[in-house]
Amino acid sequence: MTKAASPPAVEYQAALDAVDLPTTPTVDSDWIMVEEGFTLAREHELESLFAIGNGYAGSRGSLAEGSALSAPATSVAGVYDSAPGSVPGLVMVADWTRLSATIDGNRLRLDQGHNLEHRRILDMRQGILWREWRHQDGAGRITRLRELRLASVMDRHLLVQCVTITPENYSGRVSIDAALTGPVALVTSGGTNVAMAVAHRVVDPGGHSIDSTELVDGRQSLEVRLGETYRLDRIVALHTSGDTGEPGAMARTHAERAIEHMTDVISEHRDAWLARWGASDLRIDGDPAAQRALRFAIYHLLSAANPQDDRVSIGARGLSGTGYKGHVFWDTDIFMLPFFMLTYPEAARALVMYRYHTLAAARAKAARLEYRGALYAWESADSGEDVTPPFVIAPDGEIARILTGEQEQHISADVAFGVWSYWRSTGDDRFLIDAGAEILIETARFWASRAEHEEDGRYHIRGVIGPDEYHETVDDNAYTNGMAQWNLEVAQEIADLIAERWPGQWQALSRRLGIEAEEPRGWQRVARDLYTGFDEQAGLFEQFHGYFALEDIDLASFAPRTAPMDVLLGRERIARSKVIKQPDVLMLVYLLWDRMPAEVRKANFEYYEPRCGHGSSLSPAIHALVAARLGDTALAERYFRQAADIDLADNMGNSAGGIHAGALGGLWQAAVFGFAGLRLTEDGPEHHPNLPASWRSLSMRFQWRGRWHELTLPEGEGRNCRTGNDP
């Protein structure tokens, strides 16, 4: 195994004028997403794809001057509110990106005049959204505007925008309106205060700040001279009552100070992104599309993460949009967490600690349903209470009841799996003792009380929904039972481990949780006798009781298709069929890979893969991963492209409400655990690669139990990765 090649060099301008933007865009096409021109109806998608974020706050990449389809939105992670009678959603604060220029009375707009150039660039390497625009108005005046926008990852309370304006063929009067729109201070119904403060300055062509009292509210008029460049800097500081006792005062002070060090704020942010990429990048040689897709995934995952706040988690759409109301699903624990565990363990710790902080609500949910232990919310917000909407108006106009909040109980095992994976990957014993063990024990207790001992001598879990949500209220879902079994066994093992290694802490924990000496043995018994639906003869898991007797529908006969199968067949028909929405048994096969013989993995893939309709964005990546592990690289590659296209090839509005953070995490896993074949065993990391033919190499760094490993494929053999220092 050889040392990873250095990432492509980023080119910078040799020298910048004092009035120029403080840095320049990355030019290497592997690091940037570029949108040329302007198609009004695509704006919502582009706003999601071009969102910036730092895990504390996130802003959509809306056009500064707005358009008929602009939906600018800035949210603060973990700050939710709700109108009476509705479920809580992320709160949107004032639009700090709004900025328009008026030249001699004519406002610059994309839909008026002539756009000589218009380009937006998501600079993933530097964490900056760029815009370049040359506009000619009806009078022939040509104006060049350049903008950078970022959410600082060095100081997460700061949001930055710089805009330069150059009159190319005229001198005249330009009015800039950069007033904030929307609430700069708000209090949620839960009592959280959010405050935003802004500081501006205008820099003249000589690089000097222009004194202006006018600028306080964001409006400034300038006499501009032909060919000279002027710059507006805007820094916004955001604070909440979760950070400080006086968020308003803190925000004002913070913004005023930061504007004096604008260049430093930007360069520190850029350096922080470069350093983060040093740890989290995944380099593909030979497949630029895959490279860009993976960097896009990593960029958005990193943009949503905040290791400094362990009371918030990452919603299904990150901080890139209002979709899913910012709710947290199993997407975080199963699909996103592995990326953070291996490349950004501090951020991973915050995510698993969020589950610890919401354990009380999970206990309350279990108690409400008369079970013991902890049943996590299918959809979770700030408190951990279940915030799943109970109804939906279906596209045929009918009102449909939503059962996932009550029945999709595998979430508790998913949370436990994330907790255990984090601990195993990082060796963070402190976390295990202080928080992780309690989650593992309380989720095991839930399963022990949830499973019912029946006449056949087996335990059964009835009336659930598995990952395949096309089939509701099913008995003995293979994924749910399999993961519950794992949860029960691991909880018992962890109990034994802590009792042996840290007897004092075990005694304290036992006392606090009221664990009787025999209780862990009871979990083991339930696990042993839990019905799994495994058919020894066929080597297949039955997805749930009665699944094998359902109607078989040949999905190939619907190909090619652009609509999900439940839309085509209807809810009732699909529930009577074997068509599944996403990997269910195969999800179990993936997560518990080492527990299953090779022939069982293969048999189940061959059975369930043709029956999957991929109605979930989480589906293609897992199929790619499992297919790659089974050696079917061509099929894996097809699914990988499908997964990559979920956000990037979107011309159908899927991403209007935000990027699919879970699918992006899945894409990363398909590359790392699928194509690279990375396996994390008790004895350390191993790899069994099956790279696509076009991938000349894959290289990455990852952290395992506190040490950085460098993986470069396909060169080298063996189970031990090269270890090294911090990147």
Binding site: T404, N651, A656
Partner: protein, 272 residues
């Protein structure tokens, strides 16, 4: 600014009068003048003409009749070019049989009309008409959104409800940039469907302002014409608005033709 005009060609048959109740309501909504056009082989005296067209009823009282001599379709189009009407409202055909798509004259006018056209099924007869529910089938493309502007303004002025129906073409998504069709992935319907409906309306509205219209979105799949007709019946729609790209030869305009043949309510055809 001159008063808007709605042009109603009548051919002297009783069936043709089915266009009048519809045209009168539309004229009221648009505060437009209703002009009746008759084209014959010779120009008849005024009183005789009114009697011949009205079949002894007072339906044409107070309306101006413009007689022309010549070929009906050519003259209707000529007058339409001269008057620049907001709409042409005419009966689909003056035959008695149901299920007939378009008469020869209506088809020729539809082909070359310089303005949108409302085609009324003759079986409506003299039944009163109202405009409360407007059904707009939409393929999700910006081109269709742009074509619908006049129709949505009409619905807005009528304070009607707009029912936007998207029938999925499962084999191919529109390739026009900015198109919105059925989502490929519906992870959680409780979030996805409201978001999709809202996105569909917002994409429509950014190109075709919806004013104060109350809008409902429906998604269906299957045979588009059958689904649109089914929805029209179920929702008791008063008008179906169809955006037509101007091609008529087989296999083009299949949906338009099927709906034209079977719809029980008037159809407003706008050019995309």
């Amino acid at each position: 600014m001159s008063e808007p005009v709605i042009l109603v060609p009548l051919d002297g048959t009783e069936q043709a009068l089915a266009a009048l109740p519809v045209a009168k309501v539309l004229a009221e909504i648009d505060r437009a003048a209703l002009h009746i056009l008759y084209v014959g082989e010779r120009e008849p005296p005024g009183a005789e003409l009114r009697d011949r067209l009205a079949h002894g009823t007072p339906v044409l009282d107070g309306l101006t009749i413009y007689p022309r001599v010549g070929t009906p379709a050519a003259q209707i189009l000529q007058v339409a070019r001269e008057m620049n009407p907001r709409l042409i409202v005419m009966c689909k055909h003056s035959g008695a049989e149901r299920g007939k798509m378009l008469g020869r004259t209506a088809m020729k006018v539809l082909h070359d009309a310089p303005c949108p056209m409302v085609l009324v099924p003759p079986e409506r007869g003299a039944m009163p008409w109202r405009l409360q529910h407007v059904l707009v089938p939409h393929d999700g493309t910006p081109t269709t959104s742009a074509a619908l502007q006049g129709a949505t303004q009409l619905a807005d002025r009528a304070r009607a409800e707009l029912l936007v129906a998207h029938v999925t073409d499962i084999r191919a998504a529109p390739t026009e940039p900015g198109s919105l069709t059925t989502p490929s992935y519906v992870d959680q319907p409780q979030h996805e469907w409201p978001a999709w409906s809202s996105e569909f309306v917002e994409r429509l509205a950014c190109i075709c302002p919806l004013g104060h219209l109350h809008v409902r979105v429906f998604l269906a799949h299957g045979d588009p014409a059958a689904e649109i007709l089914r929805l029209s019946e179920k929702q008791s729609t008063d008008l179906i608005v169809l955006a037509w790209r101007g091609r008529w030869e087989v296999p083009r305009a299949g949906i338009l033709k099927d709906i034209m043949r079977e719809a029980r309510c008037p159809i407003l055809v706008v050019r995309a």
